[in-house]
């Protein structure tokens, strides 16, 4: 899993991501995120990297949950 920055325009990417979610309900946003994850997974196409990303994201979740007030 690559953790060094690779996105050429991080702010632009993030803005586009937010824009895509604008005006959507929570459920519609969840649907969009799910479609996005699957599309990005196919762009990656590397099983080991995909599994590493899933693990890393799941760990992130337990860390943040623990830290939150």
């Amino acid at each position: 899993m690559i953790t060094e920055p690779r996105i050429p325009d991080p702010d632009g990417f993030y803005a586009a991501l937010l824009a895509a979610h604008e005006g959507r309900t929570e459920a519609q946003s969840a649907d969009l995120n799910a479609r996005l994850v699957l599309q990005l997974a196919n762009q990656c196409g590397d099983q080991d990297v995909l599994l590493a990303c899933i693990r890393a994201a799941a760990e992130e979740d337990t860390t943040t949950t623990k830290d939150s007030p």
Binding site: A27, A30, D31, A34, R35, V37, L38, Q39, N42
Partner: protein
């Protein structure tokens, strides 16, 4: 004044749902066994308990090899009393086994051949597959047929071969492991008796009383997913394809399966709500209303059977316990998606049959029988993983799983990559076997290729394997000197050497690109060793007599003494 809803219900209530007459199944007579009243237990080399698909396949496989067995069954007919067919899809590897056992033609004539499947979401097709594309076999990817017909044809063939002591209405009440065998108490309408077996094969199915009595944990788990089968005849012309809906508009957005089997009977399997009342959803008027919704207003239909079910799974840690071997559902049960239940039981039987035959004939050691567990337990484990993943796609367990599945289905309609994620069952395929002491390279199934002798006569791999119990060495263009040296060295081994092309003096098949590419071989002088169950067990780049003999001995767990 009635509401629109109750009017609809009234109209449906008024429709008559006809039932077809029950299938007429054969009944075989009970014959009092010779051991009744004998004081000293008689010893039999092989006793099989349970005349379902796996037990019958094993008895037939042994008989085909000239090996006697006793087959005990508590019933005197095929199928399950009061139920319709269980399994309906027979996969290519099973069909190839049936070809070798001599019942394939009957199955093909009675059943429905198919290879094409479509998956729908709502009204839209999201995915399809054609299993014929990867096939080089004489047998098709699948034939659908009611399970009791397969059992019936196997019984007929077993009786025709005449080597099996088939005992109907013989129920095993107790088993006891001995140091060198198993003792069984058996109950019959004419009284009880005790026999002993060198080896006992438990093919009594999912609720095996033998497994329970021996205290073997099956690690079972039960799903909350509920389905209801409607076996039905109707006149609407539909293609003989496997159709599945992830979320059918005519089933309140739940899954539906649609398959044709013999006698013009469609199996339509509806996914039901988890907490449904199974008695209610299987009432003819309720099942009929579902079917009416699916078929439209003008299609006449009659029910053959309606049956609700839940599924479960289990897997034994080991398929061999001393002198007892577990095959089929007694050893493993998986969810029905992908037709991996009955097919793997049939393939268990074909894996064990030739090994039991060689051991019973004194041609090798008992160690060969350990490889049954070493090969089929991992196969069952793989089937369990594959079917559990299908089951989970079809019955999401949380809002997040529903969200992800919605995303898969939405993308699949437009993008090929997402179609690979749509999982309405991965169809049964012959499992590869992992590398093991008797299989240093691992093994994979060889399909039933059409072959031709050099004089033009046709044959097939299954025909070559259908007599006796030998490995086949397919030797690509050996020289005369090589062939003669090998024949001299191999005379006592259960091996049949065949040449593919060349001028060696061996029985010779025409050189064939399809054969070479299917075997991943073909260089002059190389040899592929095919086991009696049509698994490619070894490939030798340089087939010296020593290398061939050593490979055969490894595969058969034979040492210099035997043979």
């Amino acid at each position: 004044m009635p509401s629109p809803n109750s009017r609809t219900r009234c109209r449906r209530d008024m429709e008559n749902f006809a039932f077809a007459p029950a299938y007429e199944l054969p009944v075989w007579p009970f014959t009092p066994p010779p051991e009744l009243g004998s004081t000293k237990p008689v010893r039999h080399p092989i006793v099989i308990v349970g005349a379902g698909p796996s037990g019958l396949t094993l008895a037939c496989d042994l008989a085909q090899r000239g090996v006697h067995a006793v087959l005990l069954d508590e019933d005197d007919t095929v199928g399950v009393r009061g139920a319709s067919s269980r399994g309906i899809c027979y996969a290519q590897k099973s069909l190839e086994i049936f070809e070798r056992l001599g019942i394939y033609e009957r199955i093909a004539a009675k059943g429905v051949t198919w290879s094409f499947g479509r998956t729908f979401s709502g009204e839209q097709e999201v995915y399809n597959f054609n299993l014929q594309a990867n096939s080089v076999s004489r047998q098709p990817p699948f034939i659908n047929l009611q399970q009791f017909y397969v059992e019936w044809f196997l019984v007929d063939r077993i009786l025709e071969l005449g080597l099996t002591d088939v005992r109907w209405k013989n129920r095993v009440t107790r088993v006891e492991q001995l140091a060198d065998g198993v003792r069984l108490d058996v109950e019959t309408p004419a009284g009880s008796y005790t026999i002993e077996a060198d080896r006992l094969i438990d093919a009594t199915g999912a609720n095996s009383p033998i497994r329970t009595q021996l205290g073997i944990d099956a690690h079972s788990s039960r799903s909350t997913d509920r389905w209801c089968i409607s076996d039905v005849r109707f006149k609407k012309p539909l293609p003989t394809e496997r159709w599945t809906w992830v979320d059918a508009p005519f089933n309140e957005g739940r899954g539906v399966w649609q398959h044709l089997m013999a006698d013009g009977v469609w199996r339509i399997d509806y996914q039901m709500p988890e907490d449904c009342d199974t008695a209610h959803i299987s009432k003819p008027e309720v099942a009929g209303a579902r079917l009416r919704e699916q078929l439209g207003p003008d299609v006449e239909f009659e029910f053959v059977w309606i049956g609700p079910y839940g599924y479960r799974d289990h897997l034994l840690d080991s398929f061999r316990h001393g002198r007892v071997f577990f095959i089929g559902d007694a050893a493993h049960v998986v969810s029905p998606f992908g037709a991996r239940g009955g097919n793997s039981g049939i393939q268990d039987a074909a894996n064990l049959g030739w090994k039991l035959a060689l051991v019973a004939q004194g041609k090798t050691d008992d160690a060969l029988l350990d490889s049954y567990d070493a090969e089929r337990q991992p196969a069952a484990k793989q089937n369990l993983q594959v079917t559990s993943r299908s089951a989970r796609f079809l019955a999401p367990r949380s809002p997040a799983e529903h969200t992800l599945r919605r995303a898969v289905v939405a993308l699949a309609a437009r993008h090929p990559f997402a179609r690979a994620l749509v999982n309405t069952g991965r169809m049964s395929a012959a499992n590869d076997y992992p590398p093991a002491p008797l299989l240093p390279e691992g093994a994979r199934s060889v399909q039933n290729l059409s072959l031709r002798w050099t004089d033009g006569r046709e044959t097939t791999l299954m025909q070559l394997l259908s007599e006796g119990t030998e490995c086949i060495g397919l030797w690509f263009a050996p020289t005369r000197e090589q062939a003669q040296a090998a024949l001299d060295a191999m005379a006592s081994l259960p091996l049949r050497l065949l040449a593919v092309g060349g001028d060696s003096g061996l029985p010779t098949l025409q050189a064939d690109d399809r054969l070479a590419s299917h075997l991943c071989a073909g260089d002059a002088g190389s040899l592929v060793l095919v086991r009696p169950d049509a698994y490619r067990a070894a490939a030798l780049a340089n087939a010296t007599p020593e290398a061939i003999a050593s490979a055969v001995r490894t595969v058969l767990a034979a040492n210099e003494r035997n043979p």
